[in-house]
Symmetry: C2
Subunit: 132 residues, 2 copies
């Protein structure tokens, strides 16, 4: 299967090495391309979103890697290392606001310009109770 | 980017319609193909794993969908519906045991034979404290 980019991350981090270990408070934006905007209908009922994105700077993969903040080499599936067989990243963000095709979010740990491939609700718990 | 399957799900559910809404107790296996087994090194230190997999039965996508257990039509990114621009599924499972390239897990909500594309630790909290 071939992946398509559905949007892009706007982040304060210009380079991977600028990203701190803890990003829970970092605010940024997920810009969904206009052609996919209709897919966001109702997204503002959700408090937290799963963002799947591409490690677009990753070149190839290793099965054993040295995680960023650890000393020991590990299997890549025991880490979040970018050099994976399928270089897909995973972040949970808090949804702060939606302005059309742009989501204001908190918890950004991606580099600016990262391609987004999917957005999902973290849970099925909606903000509003007036909901079937 | 082109995705490659790194393994397969063994699940008690033969068809999508057999899958109940709540799967937290369902036990199954993630079989990682032998060529990727080395990537599992150290995975048994993690209590919960994120599994990314393919909605391999999905044919094309819609931006507005009717979620399985809801009445109202919504934007696909506000749901976990299979018919997404990139048909990738997301499940958190509890790791029960590892036997070589096979992971015994709890919390399976995929159909038997589902292709697996990535495995990641849910958090960076390890089971053992004897760890740099």
């Amino acid at each position: 299967m071939r992946l398509k980019s559905i949007g892009i991350v706007h982040s304060p981090f210009k380079r991977v090495k600028d990203i701190p270990r803890e990003c829970g408070s970092i605010v940024g934006e997920i810009e969904v391309f206009k052609e996919y905007e209709q897919g966001l209908e109702g997204v503002d009922r959700v408090s937290h979103l799963i963002i799947l994105w591409l490690f677009h700077e990753s070149k190839g993969y290793s099965l054993r890697v040295k995680p960023l903040h650890h000393e020991k080499v590990r299997g890549v599936f025991a880490t979040r290392h970018p050099d994976r067989p399928n270089p897909i990243g995973f972040t949970v963000v808090e949804l702060l606001e939606r302005r059309g095709n742009v989501l204001g979010v908190r918890g950004v740990d991606m580099v600016d310009g990262t391609p987004v491939i999917d957005i999902k609700p973290r849970t099925y718990i909606w903000k509003s109770e007036n909901e079937k």
